[in-house]
Symmetry: C2
Subunit: 186 residues, 2 copies
DNA sequence: GTCTATATTAAGATAGAC
DNA sequence: GTCTATCTTAATATAGAC
């Protein structure tokens, strides 16, 4: 058997980059083929279910990224504040200083397979829980911590839109800078 | 000359509804025809430039809606707080309690004509200016007012995403409820 | 001004060679 | 496992009747 040009993780990663920029409907197989360096037929070999299977693999891959770069670091050894600072740094890279959209936004538009919405919901739920937990650990009540987590998530997603539409990174970067206080100062 | 089934305003309104749900790439002429009740050929008669012209008309129409339902009410006669409460009510209807996405989000993805991004940027700039002005009028410094306006916009856009992905209106509704304090309490 | 019918291009998807 | 070639369907767009 011939060896694959890209492993599943690299392949899903390229797919995520395409879906986050163009959305589900805008991510044609031609664009996905170009982004991955594979021909359309090769994509069908890797994902017999076609575009729907590719987008689900992309969603799963992003959920894994959240696991590694948000959930795990937030459950680490350092002080809560340092852990949040670390996560903010990782988020800054993932969103390229606010120049790249969030898949939770992009892929939650109408269109795509029904399970996709469930996958996005699950990923966002996990993210909210991770933020809530670090806020509780920082001394907040459950209610207050939940509220801070929701505000933080909304601020991240909202500032990404402002940064994208106005072409200015400062909105997103400022939100990241506010994260430590928001999540760890009761 | 035969009389049009829909005037330009009604037509643009249906187009906006389609674009906000499906984005630019997902809004095929078939979907636009279904949403407007016109055949594709009739859409080309009204908009010879095709889909690109339709999306620009939609963007212009939304900018007009902002003018009428945000800028003008915020420059009204009542107290600043009452004016913001009024705008919050209008926003609640426009976003259907947080169940419908914002075109500034949906249409700012990759794809579509280049002028579209300029139109969205201009609409968002106007919205920010209107929010900033009411905050200044409420006694804030220019710097503080600008900051509050940006935070308010990001909170609106971000909470719309949370509400959409998690299927819960409360995120968006809570943001609307916080608007009067955010924009009029120094 | 809107329609039916049709042309043209791109999208999603498969077959079979290497 | 990836490719070229091809099929089928849907998309954008136009022609011409009413």
């Amino acid at each position: 058997m011939a060896t694959a040009r890209l492993n599943d993780s690299e392949l899903a990663d390229r797919a995520v980059e395409t879906f986050r920029m163009y959305g589900y409907e805008g991510s044609s197989l031609n664009r996905l083929a170009e982004a991955t360096g594979l021909e359309k037929a090769s994509l069908y070999y890797r994902y017999p279910g076609g575009k729907d299977q590719i987008v689900m693999a992309a969603a799963t891959h992003v959920a894994g990224w959240f696991e590694q770069n948000i959930f795990l670091p937030l459950a680490g050894e350092q002080s809560p504040r340092r852990r949040v600072q670390n996560v903010a740094r990782l988020l800054r890279r993932f969103y390229a200083d606010g120049t790249k959209p969030c898949v939770l936004d992009t892929l939650s538009l109408q269109g795509g397979p029904p399970q996709l919405q469930a996958a996005l919901q699950s990923a966002l739920d996990g993210w909210l829980a991770a933020f809530t937990n670090i806020a509780i650990e920082s001394g907040m009540t459950r209610t207050q911590a939940l509220r801070r987590a929701e505000d933080a998530l909304a601020a991240i997603e909202g500032s990404l839109i402002l940064s994208r539409v106005l072409g200015q990174k400062r909105f997103f970067l400022r939100t990241l800078a506010s994260l430590p206080d928001l999540l760890t100062e009761p």
